[in-house]
Structure formats: C-alpha cells, structure tokens
C-alpha cells in the first residue's frame, strides 16, 4: 500500500513539474476561424492538407480548426488557452491584448469586405447616414471590426451610436434571421452574408465598408506569443502556408467559393460565388498594410473606453517573421522579436496541485500509512 501511494504521488509530482515547465513540443496546433469568405485561405490550406504537410517537419502531428461566429468569442477562447492561431479581424485582438492576451499579429488576411444591408423598403429610401436614425442594426459584438467601423462611421457622420441607432451584437446566423424576420432594420456583416440576404430579397446593400473607411484592415493572422518565442520557424512556415493559400485563392476564385461552401455547412455555393463577385474586399498577406487602420481602431476603442490604454504597433504586431519569410530587411527601428511578456500567466492551479501532492506525501509519511 505504502509503495503504491509513494509511486502515485511521485508521478503526480513529476507530471505537475512537467506541466509547469511547459512542454517544448507542439504536437497539436489549434486554429480558430470564422464562417466568412474573408478567411477562405485557412479553409483552402485545411482542405488541401497543406497545414499538415507543411508543419509535419516541426513535429506537429495533429491540426484542428474551430469555427467561431465572430471575433470576440474567438478571442475569449484564445485567452482561455484554447487556440494557438486565430484567423480574426485586427480589432478583437486589441481589446484582448489590452486585457492580457499574449499574442501578436504576424500577417494580414483581407481588407474591406463588409457591407451595411438595409431591408428593401428602407434601402430604397436611403440617401445618407442620417436616415439610419432610430433604426435597429445587428452587427458583430463590441470589439469586432464591424462594430468598431460602424460606430466610428456613425460618429464621423454626426450620429451618436448609443442613442441614435440601436446596435445589437450577434453572430452572422442570428443577424441574418433577424433581418429576414423584420426584427432588425439592417445588418452590417462581412461577406458572404450581405449577398445571401440580397439574393433572398430580404435586403439591399447601401454602403460598403470600403466606403466607410477606405482600404481598412479586416482579418489577420494572430499567433500566440508562446509560439512566436519558442517556435519561430514553425510560425514562419505558418505564414508561408498562408501566403500560398491566399495566392491560390486569388487565382482560383470559383474553387475558393466551392471550398467555402463545403466548409461552412448549409451555404449555397452559387450565393458564395456571387458574393465574391460583389464584395469590395481583397485577400492579402502583408501585415504592414494593416498597421495604420488597426492603430485607428485602437484609438477608437480607447476613446470609447473599451481599452485601458492606447495600444501601439509594438503591442499588436510582430512583422519580423513575415519580413524574414519575404526576405525583407527590417526597417531601422522596427520591433525586435516579440519579447517575453512581463507578467507570465502563472499555471496557478498546477503549482497548487504540486504543493498539495507534496503535502499529502509528507502527511502520509508522518503517519506511516
């Protein structure tokens, strides 16, 4: 009996220590994405097995991807440690990193690509933003690109987003249901939702996001700080695979639509193809082009009280790995590789477990069980 207990306790101690120190191997890579045509690059690389193929040499045996209805819940999952890589707008990471998420934007994914759709009657009478007074608009939750751009645009046009327009946060599915059933007057969503609504005669696009904020950053590739620090080569390969997938989609738009329709169940492939024709977005990969507009988001968020401090390029981006991949010499004065965050999130409970195991061991010894 005594022997068993000792062995068991030693095992607990060892596994505790191992967890505390952190496994140096990455056996499973967990990717997050959203059901939007902005992020087909992830889907293409997944369906064609490029993630698996390219990352195998780093010891990655298993790659999973999880769908999130929008950016904020995706960031919640990443903050809980559920994701290593996220395809997400550049805005959600702002509020997340402000609250302690250890991650950086390493590449871009797309620009523009969202649209404000109003129900047919209202769309016909729409002339200017002032017509939106008193309407109910569904968009992604606060902190998302869509929410940030919509609110900024309303403010720029003299409207108070809190009082003049009733903005509710929802996922794409709910928002589409709500405009179709008349619960809301309009939606502001990324592609393909606007086209889906238009083709169902439930609404008409009145403003494209590219009109609200020309060439604005939308989705990006966000990677956990730990991966960047401990496995930079792995991250560079992720960037490369992403670039290849993006180039492929740009050259094979029809196939990209088909890949999307297979990935996101229940989508009509014809509607996706039409959406790609109608959207004002572009699939990209250079993170540099997203820096300016993202800093604008950071300012808007800070002014709205969504963040405690005004985040800087250093806080949000790490373009060094991309530059290495593309053979670009880093500009003088650019950020050095992502530094260790000053406050390490402690594996508090694991240390507690270790201490508890030790105590139990000592007590048992003491009483000679």
């Amino acid at each position: 009996m005594k022997k068993y207990v000792s062995v068991l306790l030693t095992l607990i101690l060892i596994s505790g220590i191992i967890t505390v120190c952190g496994a140096s191997e990455i056996k499973t890579l967990r990717i997050g994405y959203q059901p939007s045509t902005h992020q087909i690059a992830e889907m293409t690389a997944m369906e064609k097995g490029w993630w698996t193929r390219d990352l195998a040499k780093f010891g990655v045996e298993n790659i999973t991807d999880t769908e999130f209805s929008s950016g904020p819940p995706e960031m919640t999952a990443m903050m809980a440690g559920e994701l290593d890589v996220a395809y997400v707008g550049t805005a959600p990471p702002i509020t997340a990193i402000d609250k302690g998420l250890d991650a950086k934007i390493v590449a871009s994914v797309n620009t523009n690509g969202s649209a404000l759709v109003l129900s047919p009657g209202l769309a016909a009478n729409y002339t200017s933003p002032a017509d939106l007074k008193g309407l109910k608009i569904a968009t992604f939750p606060p902190g998302s690109i869509q929410d940030t751009i919509l609110k900024k645009w309303l403010k720029d046009n003299g409207l108070d987003p809190g009082r003049d327009v009733h903005i509710i946060g929802a996922g794409p599915g709910e928002a589409i249901t709500e405009i179709m059933t008349g619960v809301v007057d309009g939606v502001f969503l990324p592609a393909p939702s606007p086209t889906i609504i238009e083709m169902a005669d439930a609404g008409k696009t009145v403003v494209y996001s590219g009109e609200m904020f020309p060439n604005h950053a939308c989705c990006c590739l966000l990677v956990s700080g730990r991966l960047i620090r401990e496995h930079p080569e792995l991250v560079k390969q992720i960037i490369r695979t992403h670039i290849n997938a993006t180039r492929y989609n740009n050259e094979h738009k029809e196939e990209a639509a088909e890949i999307y329709a297979r990935k996101v169940r229940g989508t009509d492939v014809e509607k996706v193809k039409e959406s790609i024709k109608r959207w004002d977005g572009a699939w990209v990969y250079d993170p540099h082009i997203e820096i300016n507009s993202t800093l604008v988001y950071a300012k808007v968020d800070y002014e709205m009280g969504y963040t405690n401090k005004l985040l800087t390029e250093e806080d949000l981006f790490d373009t060094s790995l991309y530059d290495e991949v593309m053979g670009i010499a880093p500009a003088p004065g650019t950020v050095s590789p992502t530094p260790q965050p000053t406050s390490q999130p402690t594996p508090g409970f694991t240390s507690l477990l270790v201490i508890a195991a030790l105590l139990v061991y000592i007590v048992l010894r003491r009483f000679k069980i």
């Binding site: 903050m79 609250k99 902190g143 999130p345």
Partner: protein
Amino acid sequence: MKRNRLISILNNRGIIEAISLSLTIILWELVSNFIVRNPGKLPSPYSILLAFCDIWEIIPLDIGISLLHFGIGIGAGAAMGIIVGMLMGWFRIVDRIMDPMVEILRPIPPLAWVPFAILWGGLTHYAAGFIVFIGAFFPILINTYTGFREVDKTYIDAARVLGCREEWKLIKFIALPFSLPSIATGIRIGMGVGWMCVVAAELFGVSKSGLGYRLFQVFWPLHMIDKLILYMIILGLVALLLDRLFRYFVEEKLFKWKRGIVIAK
C-alpha cells in the same frame, strides 16, 4: 471567563456573518493575487471595487431597465398566474382542459423561449418582459392552484350555510383569502426565478441597457471580466433586496394567521 465572553460576543446577531464575509473576501484577494494571478480569469476584489468606481454612473440606469423588464414580467405573470391558477384550482373542468398545456410548457427553460420572444416581440422591452413572465408565471400558477385546492371543505360548508351561495362569492370571500399566503409564496418564488430570467431576457440585445445586456453584450465581448463579476454581484444583491422587501411588506401581514393553522393542525 475569556472563552465565555468570546462566545457571547459571537452569538450577537451578525458578528459571525460579518466575519465569514470578510474572511471570504480576504481569501479571494489572496487567491487571485498569489495563486491565479490572471485578472482575465479571476479579478481580485480590489479590482472589482475599482471597476465599480469606474462605471458607477451607468449602474442605476442598468438596474432601472432590468427592473423595468422584471416589472413587466412579474406584473403579467402574477395577473395571469393568479387568474389561471384560480380557475384551474376551483373548477375541475378547467383543470382538466388546461393541464396538458401547462405540463408541457412548464419544463421549457425560459432561455429556450428567447428566440421565440424576439421573433414575435421584436427588440423591445416587452420581449424581455416576456422571458421574465415565462419564469414567473408557472410558480405563481402552481402555488395559486395548490392554495385553492387546499381550501378546507368545512369553510365552504360554513360559508354556504351563512348565505354565501354563488360560486364567485365563495371564491371571493373564502377561497381567495385562504389562498393568499400560498399565492404570496408563489409570487416570491416567481420573483426569484423571474429575476434570474432577466439576464436571459437581455442576452440578445433587446434593449440598449440593463444588467444582463451590459454583461453579455458589452463586458463579455470586450473581456472586461472585473466589470462582469461586479455585475454578477449586483444581480445577486438586487435579487436579495427584492426578496427581503417583499417578505417585509407582504408576508408579515399575510402569514400571521397561517402560522396559527399550521401549529394547530
């Protein structure tokens, strides 16, 4: 001697409760600062206090809107619950007609009604009130029903002999006063459940403010966990206050005579 003195101090009302509460907060502060060390997961009580100082201006508005939703739901729930409970409790035939519907609808969680409420009620205070109504209606119904069913036959006999012959008179003068304590209990339970439904009601953004709205539509997407926990605490405190107020104003009066019966029987 010292020990006796200590015990008599502790026996004073509120001392042990106060100590327990303080110790819990201190323990929480220690755990969050030294063990968890992740404000994104477990903010410390101090940071929640700071969060309160940060947003205290908006709290009365949120409480007010949530109470509005609560009021709509409880008002409708009490009115309909008492009427239907009364009819089902007094008239056997009504009971048999309504029972299947009640038994099927009752177990459906209020949260599951939210999409239905939004589709039919739109993004209005009434949709939110509807969810609270669903939560409050059934306890009030059941308790009213039980109260009416429990009326002693002797009271009815005595009333009839004294000249109270019509059904509605028997209900008004005998069954209703007798059931009032049960109804009050039902309302109290309904209030508890209804308040819990306020968060579900406001989840989907039917209004532009409210405790549940701000919790799920603002703090959660923006990862403001300290404010989130602050609102959780506020939700609990408001519920406590509502319950105590109800007990003080209503039950004090109604339960006097019921206590007498319980002891006698």
